[in-house]
């Protein structure tokens, strides 16, 4: 039986779009939350160090447990549509990784930048927003984008909770055929699309890095 019918292909492509949609939203939220986490871990000292410890615990917890576990956990505890749940689950554990990436970036900014900003009368938040963070993000762009690739790839774990993303849609269509060559073809198609998407991202990062090195 032929499985690459227009209906099936459009069904799979809808899944592909859902994968992209979930990934983009998850990355945006993770960067925002990750920045907050990184700043707390980096700068909450003295009386505020309780927050620093909380954030460290948060980061370690999500770094040391599988994503699939949290996807399932969120799925069973939080109500909402599948996009909401997926984005929430991914934001929660990706932000822990983002926080570490951003902290790495913060560490690479020379202390003198901070002192210079303060000597010019900038407060903490102003110097962060206007001086430190823009530089930080510039240095971590490669790591940030490689994390995007990770999110896109890991979104296929969502097939485990019946979110109709790319992998799951392909799996459903695969149920319609017993023909080995069709199954192989379908896998080839799935691999190819993921590859094009992720490889495209890594090419952009490489081009960016080359430009930075050249500059």
């Amino acid at each position: 039986m032929e499985i690459f019918t227009p209906a099936n292909v459009s069904f799979i492509m809808q899944g592909f779009l859902k994968t992209i949609e979930i990934s983009i939203l998850a990355i945006i939220f993770s960067v925002i939350l990750g920045t907050v986490l990184a700043l707390v871990k980096q700068y909450c000292t003295g009386k505020l160090s309780i927050f620093k410890w909380l954030v460290s615990a948060y980061i370690e917890l999500f770094r040391c447990t599988p994503n699939l576990l949290w996807i399932l956990f969120i799925y069973f505890t939080v109500k909402g549509n599948d996009i909401f749940i997926s984005v929430l689950a991914f934001t929660i554990f990706t932000s822990a990784v983002m926080a570490e990436i951003i902290r790495g970036g913060l560490n690479s900014i020379p202390k003198s930048q901070f002192e210079a900003a303060q000597s010019q009368g900038f407060g903490f938040f102003a110097s962060m927003r206007l001086i430190i963070l823009p530089q930080t993000f510039k240095t971590i762009i490669p790591a940030l984008f490689s994390q995007c690739t990770t999110v896109i790839k890991d979104s296929s774990y969502l097939a485990g909770i019946n979110v109709a993303e790319f992998m799951f849609s392909a799996k459903v269509v695969m149920g319609y055929t017993s023909d080995l060559s069709q199954v192989l073809l379908l896998y080839g198609f799935v691999f190819a699309l993921y590859f094009v998407l992720n490889f495209g991202i890594s090419l952009i990062v490489r081009a960016y890095q080359r430009r930075v090195v050249a500059a």
């Binding site: 939203l25 984005v87 929430l88 149920g175």
Partner: protein, 285 residues
Amino acid sequence: MSLSRRQFVQVFGAAAAVLGTGALAGCNSDPAASGSGDASSKVEAIKSRGKLNCGVKADVLGYGYLNTETGEYEGLEIDLCYQIAAAVFGVSYEEAKEQGLCEFTTVTPKTRGPLIDNDSLDIVCATYTITDERLEDWDFSDPYRVDHVGVMIMKSSGMEKLADLDGKLIGVSQGSTTKDAVTAAVAEEGVELTDGNFNEYPDYPSINSALESGNIDAFAMDRSTLNTYMNDQKELLEPEVEFGEQEYGIATKKGSDLSEVVNDKVNELLDNGWLEEEATTWNLL
């Protein structure tokens, strides 16, 4: 984008709450969960929301099936959900259908119970078998359909009777009662199956693919479900032997006022012959 601005705020709020209160407590703090006061009256909550949230199957022909061409759910259980919605909102069945008073979500055996627990779903009408254990955690209506377990195999496997399952690997769905039913039926043939004979999968397409690819020898599930995956290379093992009776009921949150409404409606539909008609409509006889 299918995320509204409100949901955007929710994602961020919920994620930030995790940060504030520690991971576990955070999962509880979905802002939408609080304030609606739906613990008191489920029926009132549904009325004010204007939609009945129903958990249904997407891959069981005739019961709950998502048609990939139209993107619509169809089947006996879908119609039954509209009947329940009609009873809750006090409108006729046709009106309920026309106004689309049901919001459908695909569930699997594994996700059915928890999604009622967390109030994502009001009712689950998804080939959900009534068991004593489940009755401890959820309310069930009286059964609206009875089905039996079947064992699907590849014709090329050469198996002929249930006793041939000895030492074979059988794929079942996570969180379903099939495993016990098959074990009991095969035990009557004098063959003992252990946990090692079963592989449990999160969804039906996976079990079917595992059977097709030769990773498992048999796919055991309610016959209604197997029907979806039947083709000329597969067959049921000893179809004349009926075992593992599965009584399907509509599940609701334990102790909610909705349970009574649902049960009354199901009994009404059983009495006036509507369910029988539906079974004929969807070729379930």
